[in-house]
Amino acid sequence: MFKNLSCSVILCGLLLSPAVFAHHSAALYDFQKVASVEGVIKEVKVNNPHLHLVLEVTDEKGTRDITYEGHSRNNLYRRGWRPDKLNVGDKIKISYATTRDGSDGGYVASIVSKDGTEF
């Protein structure tokens, strides 16, 4: 499900919307290039205007904490997020627009929470 992602309609529903560009620098993230990763939540703040998420991620570069940002609390709510869906210690999957300079982090497009809910 999270392999070979492209900027599909559902995935990029908000990524390409004007409001996202109103809040985020198009220069910082490549909204046409979406990757995916699994990780354990170290920090999470589902706030407006942005989601703040720190995941402990393990990949070929090793294990480290990576910070992501994402949609507003209100938009996440409309996509199915609820207050009990993201907690520190949960193992989750995210898809995200990568950074343009290739550094760690990104803009979260969608999340599959511990219980399998996608938003």
Partner: protein, 252 residues
């Protein structure tokens, strides 16, 4: 004597004209459609990324934006990241993302935009724009019904010198709002809409931004809104995050 006569005539005219204006306003609202609902924009004309309209800027407009970007950088801090409302016209151009609740009254239409919790009060009681009102981000709006069409005139806007939709304090925005149905739409819905509409009704908002100081011609954007369930609109408690960050910095 003539002085007292003139004053009497003025009072007489006021007594006659004032109720007449109110009667006309009331008559106009009797046939007005009901636009009270929670609306989400799901299509636009031009389609796609709204705001990329810099080509319509005049040389003076280009210079205004260039000056701002030379001063603060092209990737300058964005108001949304600091919970600062962008006001008009951006508040009406949130395609797919943020809903607007409209509360309709015979003498007032109130628009409650979720994004930055912006409120628009559109006076339908026949008043004019005030002469001593401060400029604000949503400006001062008056309107009237022409048959099924709500015409809104907005002015007294705060100037905005950068993307999106730069405008001066002399900008004027006219909106022409009417209801139609989905089968009569001539534009494609955005593929990104996820909420299901409550019915086939579509609210069309034609917005015309006139600001000859910085645009070569009036800019027209048409937004198409669908009704969504009223449990889809929330408080947008944006500034609390900034406060919590500030509190952390003061942690003893």
């Amino acid at each position: 004597m003539s002085k007292y006569l003139s004053i009497s005539v003025i009072f007489l005219l006021m007594a006659v004209i004032s109720p007449a204006i109110q009667w006309v306003a009331a008559e106009n609202t009797q046939s007005a459609p009901d636009i009270s609902a929670v609306w989400m924009a799901f299509a636009s004309n031009p389609p796609g990324r709204l705001g990329a309209e810099q080509s319509r800027l005049s040389p003076a407009g280009e210079a205004l934006v260039a000056r701002f970007e030379e001063t603060y950088g092209r990737e300058h801090p964005d108001p949304g990241a600091f919970c600062v409302p962008q006001g008009m016209p951006s508040v009406m151009l949130a395609l797919v993302t943020y809903p607007i609740e409209i509360i309709q009254h015979p003498k007032r239409v109130t628009m409650l935009a979720e994004m930055e919790m912006q409120v628009r009060r559109i006076y339908l009681d026949g008043r004019d724009h005030p002469g001593d009102y401060p400029n604000t981000r949503v400006g001062h709006s008056i309107g009237h019904w022409e048959g099924d069409m709500l015409i809104i005139d907005t002015t007294l806007l705060t100037g905005w010198e950068t993307r999106n939709w730069p405008h001066t304090e002399n900008a004027r925005i006219q909106e022409r709002i009417h209801l139609t149905t989905r089968d009569k739409m001539k534009v494609q819905p955005s593929p990104f809409i996820t909420q299901k509409p409550l019915d086939d009704q579509v609210m069309v908002v034609e917005l015309i931004l006139t600001d000859p100081e910085i645009y070569v011609e009036p800019v027209t954007i048409t937004m198409y809104y669908q009704k969504i369930s009223d449990d889809n609109i929330l408080e947008y408690d944006c500034p609390v995050g900034l406060l919590l960050d500030a509190l952390e910095e003061h942690r003893q």
